[in-house]
Chain length 126, copies 2
DNA sequence: CTAAAAAGGATAATAATTATTGATTTCCTG
DNA sequence: CAGGAAATCAATAATTATTATCCTTTTTAG
């Protein structure tokens, strides 16, 4: 049995995601880590993102301009996507964000596990 | 100035979208219309979907398994996506679905234009 | 330390979407 | 109804994000 969860590179990918609020794409992560890990491969980033997503350590928050964007902050919150520059920012509600999955009854659903709420508009910098 | 908005094929694409509740992909639309329009091209479907989306006649409701899915029902409602089979079904709230864009203040946003709320889970048929 | 398992690098393959180009259709104007 | 400009289209090539492959390297349990 393996006791250490993550390989070095997986750890680096995860920690980078934890440390940023840019909701990056695979490519952004790759470019950010490349200096410190010169032999990093883009495929490794993709593979580990999928793997971490499977673990529930990370989630895909949006697809912007055809690119999947990730977040390691797993507390319930939503996102605002700028339609012009693609920047993604966190949206917190003044009260605790409700668990909408408990507030809906969906005929066609056997089990509602989660939801994703995304706001779109233009950011202050655009 | 052109008075008739749509070409035949564009009209057909739009009307198909209006008549179905499957939230189809470009390919599904293409396959559905092909019998009646044997010279229809897949590129035409993609082009017109983007065009209709620009018009606000249609919207992209989700990306499922890497495929953009569209809806012509423009009244405010949300969607449930089955994580297994990819089926998308409408979600209406008992009260009128609130306009959340008026309920949030987002620092980074100059203008919040719309939002998209998607529930995920397993459908009754899976 | 060693062997087995997991992970990675490099690269090829996939697949959805977009762009191109030359032909066809649409529809305003006369 | 005809001419012509603009819009649209079909066919196909190009693009691009992502995934799969395959062989090597790293990691880890014992």
């Amino acid at each position: 049995m393996r006791t250490q969860n993550y390989s070095r590179k997986r750890q680096a990918i995860y920690e980078l995601l934890l440390s940023t609020d840019t909701h990056p794409s695979a490519e952004w992560i790759y470019n950010s880590l490349k200096p410190q890990y010169p032999d990093l491969s883009l495929g490794t980033v993709y593979r580990n993102l999928k793997l971490l997503e499977g673990n529930g350590a990370v989630r895909s928050v949006a697809v912007v301009d055809g690119c999947e964007r990730y977040d390691a902050k797993m507390t319930r919150h939503s996102h605002f996507v700028c339609k012009k520059c693609g920047k993604i920012t966190d949206v917190f509600f003044t009260e605790t964000m409700p668990d909408l999955t408990e507030k809906v009854y969906i005929d066609a659903a056997k089990d509602v596990e989660e939801y994703n709420l995304i706001f779109y508009g233009i950011c202050t910098e655009c």
